[in-house]
Symmetry: C2
Subunit: 340 residues, 2 copies
């Protein structure tokens, strides 16, 4: 096994100094056109591999960016990631991804590791119950960080989130307009800003329309999976049969709820209306298509990425808080309130 090809190897082969090679490869003007071409060709031929560890040790910077997502099991995060990566690829940053699976420990060790690796910034959709220790690490090392999808109470950090309360408000308004009076809620049992805001939006909207919020009509489930939605809907059908419409924290919950309704012989969109939240790419393909609150994922991802680049360039700027308005997408799961 031969030794690693370094600048030195190339320099010796080309009969020039190490610095000349370094500069040639980076198109530094101090090196002549002819030499540059020659050196580059030689480097390629020898199979030279740039050593970023050495480079960034010397320079004190790196051009990779870390993303830590609370849980990839919800496909909505994939959509955020796509938008973020699209934006960051343009600036030739490498994106390193971590799926924290809603475990604080995973998130923690990833962040620490990224600091050790010299990552230049972090995009964070924090896990439920993110420990203060983690935040301290970020602050102490002033690690450029932008929160997205979920924010913290601490106002000192940048964040880009959806206007969750507004979104649920839009959903409830539409259900009321369709004549529904007994509207249930599924989701929002997590201790996250998103869960809190969406439920508050629900409660506020009910109040605005003078509707009651009874205990049997609220299912504060702690997760967002399909199966959880199914079970929650089952409880609602049994304990609150008067319900004709359901607003859900997420599309996954809504799809689960719809499946329970169908099983119970209630036609979704006619006997009972269901609205999700997030507007997953695949929600349009369900039968009937899921009505949902469309979170501006493209914009949130893009803006979070840009904000991070700004923050890296200018660490002392005051924190930026961005709240992006969602919109309502109506498909087949919502319809007029059935007459008794």
């Amino acid at each position: 096994m031969q030794k690693r090809i370094t600048l030195k190897t190339v320099a010796e082969a080309a009969g020039v100094s190490v610095s000349a090679v370094s500069m040639a490869l980076r198109d530094h003007p101090r090196i002549s056109e002819t030499k540059r071409v020659e050196i580059k060709a030689l480097a390629r031929e020898l199979g030279y591999i740039y050593n970023r560890q050495a480079a960034s040790l010397r320079q004190g910077t790196s051009d990779n960016i870390s993303i830590c997502v609370n849980d990839l099991h919800n496909p909505v995060f994939l959509e955020f990631l796509t938008a973020i990566e699209r934006e960051l690829r343009q600036s030739d940053k490498l994106v390193l991804l971590c799926n924290a699976r809603e475990e604080c420990e995973i998130q923690d060790s990833f962040i620490r590791r990224m600091l050790e690796q010299g990552s230049s910034g972090l995009l964070l959709s924090p896990v439920e119950g993110t420990c203060p220790e983690t935040l301290r690490t970020i602050v102490q090392n002033n690690f450029p960080t932008v929160f997205f999808t979920r924010r913290l109470e601490d106002e000192g950090f940048d964040h880009v989130v959806s206007d969750d309360a507004l979104g649920v408000g839009l959903a409830v308004d539409e259900l009321v307009r369709l004549g529904h009076r007994n509207i249930a809620w599924i989701g929002g049992g997590q201790h996250t800003s998103t869960a809190a805001a969406r439920f508050e939006g629900f409660a506020a909207a009910l109040q605005k329309h003078g509707l009651a919020l009874t205990e049997a009509m609220v299912e504060k489930v702690p997760e967002t999976g399909l199966e959880v939605g199914r079970a929650a809907m089952d409880r609602i059908l049994r304990h609150a049969p008067e319900v004709t419409a359901v607003a859900c924290f997420s599309d996954l919950l809504a799809l689960g709820a719809a499946s329970t309704c169908r099983e119970a012989g209630r036609s979704v969109g006619q006997d009972i209306s269901i609205i999700g939240h997030d507007d997953l790419e695949q929600s349009v393909y369900f039968d009937p298509g899921l009505s949902s609150v469309r979170v501006a994922k493209e914009q949130i991802g893009r803006d979070a990425a840009r904000l991070l680049l700004n923050r890296i360039a200018c660490p002392e700027a005051p924190p930026v808080h961005e709240t992006v308005a969602p919109s309502l997408i109506l498909r087949g799961t919502t319809g007029p309130c059935p007459v008794r």
Copy 2:
């Protein structure tokens, strides 16, 4: 903004040499118990952050491992990842993840970047049409690499895959046992080992049972999403109405197909049987539960990770090829062939 805290900072504060601090932090026996405790406490107090770039530059090794997945849109890859990460976390390796979104260029630049970063190994579920250039990069730098879920024709690499042909064979056997004679196929239009093997398994099984394979009954779609499955099933219903059972390349396709059938008024599991492949975690929650070929994701992920660690430890060992047998999981979407 203060300068970065380094070993030197800590050493000066503790009144010892830089090497002493380095050794103390790594529990080197040459440092006494008392000094070690003292130095560690001081390092923590000062907020010392280990600089891995410097360390691995010096050592010529790093302890992070890269995973590149062809496309996270299929949730089955999340399940593989979970298994892999579980295994690697034990050995205190950092896992760096890339979603190649089935684009060769993304995969390519990730791999190159990982070489530059000094990643110690790669787990790769290669994108469709992985270019030879990429493989050359891997070989030339003898970058320890294990392929999983999809393999290459090149026998020189390690791989861990499911026995795809066997899996589809099991599915067809079951459908035949249930009395079906007109069995259609959806999927497998991609240029991947998985697509080829699953379709071959289908064709071979039909032949074994003396059944015909007509063109109208084969939908070689190039993707695996829900919507593609829906469209494919639609074409089958129109052009091959005699079909009573469908074997699919993936669960996503199968779920799409099932949705089309329901829409067309065909009761899935009674009028028509559908079998998926992969056995996604969520497939059990659909209504009716999806029958599927269960790929041993836990085992494949675990073994791929272990294989990689072996490969890293021993780069010259002969390549290992592992094929893991899947099993058949029957739920509600399969039933006896309806009598005419």
